[in-house]
């Protein structure tokens, strides 16, 4: 016997997508490392001014996916891809599309902080210098602006000439973010940016990510489920090279549609 209900039990309430600009459009992306099929038919948009988290167990293809977004996977000789990735409506695999152009727009922050063995100042202005900016005043302005945006300025303003290796791990990672911001990118890719950091440094980076998404679009690979839940707007769950589920983070962590997603986020495998 059924009774009055506001809606049928089968109906899943869908959140109406708001009008959002798409930064990346990934369509039927496949990637092979030699014979190993690492990404399988991945199709997903990445939205502007949002934090998109990529989660999944080790070896699921999440790092490969993020590295494909700025064509870093091409550094591996045996890599083969099919499908398409459009960045701002341009096909990044097109033979006329210059990888340098892509990487000035798409910055990357890695798992371990990797400052250059140079001064804090030289680290930040490294990119702008390569792009031909020589004026000291301009470089100083860029350094200050980038370090402020990376929430590091107050901690290093009096020691800009000191070697970057003297900074703590958390500071070094924010320096790498500042270095990335100095070239004024559009998108920031982060590959497990806090996995080598202590909890306080991690929270500082997370706060920073929230701040930065106002001006940048951020894609972050993380093993830390709570981190994805805390800071991202959308979450994509990868498993064995497949995109299993991609939705609003609030949906993924409260009512995921796929049982494999539920099992992974609740720690039942991975």
């Amino acid at each position: 016997m059924l009774v009055k209900t506001k809606e049928s039990l089968e109906v899943v309430k869908k959140i109406e997508p708001k009008e959002q600009k798409v930064v990346y459009n990934v369509d039927q992306l496949n990637l092979w490392y030699g014979d190993v099929h690492a990404l399988m038919n991945v199709t997903m948009p990445i939205y502007e001014n949002e934090v998109t988290a990529i989660i999944g167990p080790s070896g699921c293809g999440k790092s490969t996916f993020i590295k494909t977004l700025n064509r870093m996977t091409e550094l591996v000789p045996s890599v083969k891809t099919s499908g398409s990735i459009y960045y701002r409506d341009k096909d990044i695999f097109h033979r006329k599309y210059k990888v340098e152009e892509l990487r000035t727009k798409v910055g990357m922050v890695f798992q371990k902080p990797n400052p250059f063995p140079k001064s804090i100042f030289e680290n930040v202005v490294y990119g702008p210098k390569i792009h031909g900016i020589r004026d000291k005043k301009t470089l100083l302005e860029i350094a200050e602006k980038s370090l402020r945006r990376a929430a590091l300025w107050d901690e290093v303003k009096d020691r800009l000439k000191e070697n970057a290796y003297g900074l703590s791990g958390g500071q070094q990672q924010r320096l790498c973010i500042a270095r990335c911001l100095a070239i004024e990118p559009d998108v920031i890719l982060m590959d497990e940016p806090t996995s080598a950091l202590d909890p306080i440094s991690t929270l500082k980076i997370e706060e920073l990510v929230q701040e930065l998404k106002k001006d940048y679009s951020i894609v972050i690979v993380t093993h830390n489920m709570q981190q994805a839940a805390r800071i991202s707007d959308k979450t994509a769950f990868f498993l064995n090279g497949e995109l299993i589920e991609y939705d609003d983070t609030s949906t993924i962590f409260s009512k995921p549609h796929d049982e494999r997603t539920e099992d992974y986020i609740s720690g039942r495998f991975g």
Binding site: L2, S254, K255, S266
Partner: protein, 216 residues
């Protein structure tokens, strides 16, 4: 071996404790109606003491849920299970309080209820108790359909409550007003027990699929 065996055991234990609380609550509610039926006033005081045990059970469930959220960070279905344990325990505790109210009102009755009053109250109480029992079964099994069926009976209790009130206040020739008021209160408390059973059924649906349905 399950990756989170200990955690899953904790979730199962939590549910078991809520089910145990449900049994205690049903037992005391049933006894309170029995006392009313037999006008067995000496049994009121000992039964009132049982409410303290029920309150303690609710607090213990609250503490377990707090610890589980703090230490295990449940998400999705697991999170709903822990939240629903909290909510069901609160509804059960309210049924415990209503049982206390029934006992106190019984104590205030000038004389025992008459045959017709008893028959009508008994009918309502039987249905309300059955609703709680089935809501707890639905909770145990995570059975959506069962939960919906429980809620559908609430209308019957509401209807019987209205009939009971009408009967009380249209034929008060030989019933003192104070007596009628206390009986009306008892009727109201029983009707509220059925409402809490409906709430539990709604929580079962939320636990299962995350939807809030107003079944009342």
């Amino acid at each position: 071996m399950s990756v989170r065996g200990a955690y899953e055991l904790q979730l199962a234990e939590l549910k078991k404790e809520v089910l145990h609380m449900g049994e205690e609550v049903m037992e005391t509610f049933s006894q309170s109606i029995d006392i009313l039926r037999k006008n067995h006033r000496d049994a009121i005081a000992p039964l009132l003491q049982k409410d303290e045990k029920i309150n303690e059970m609710e607090l213990s469930i609250h503490d377990q849920v707090t610890l589980m959220i703090a230490r295990q960070q449940p998400v999705a279905t697991d999170l709903r299970m822990t939240i629903v344990a909290l909510k069901v325990a609160s509804d059960l505790e309210r049924i415990g309080d209503l049982t206390v109210d029934i006992l106190k009102a019984t104590k205030r009755l000038i004389q025992g209820a008459n045959e017709l009053e008893l028959m009508m109250l008994n009918e309502m109480a039987d249905i309300a108790l059955q609703m709680v029992k089935e809501a707890m079964e639905a909770y145990h099994e995570g059975d959506l359909l069962h939960a919906q069926q429980v809620a559908s009976i609430d209308d019957v209790v509401d209807k019987k409550y209205k009939q009971f009130i009408k009967m009380l206040f249209t034929s008060t020739k030989d019933v003192a007003m104070e007596q009628a008021i206390q009986l009306a209160f008892i009727g109201r408390y029983v009707e509220r027990v059925a409402d809490h059973a409906t709430n539990i059924a709604e929580w079962v649906i939320y636990e299962k699929n995350g939807q809030h349905l107003d079944l009342n």
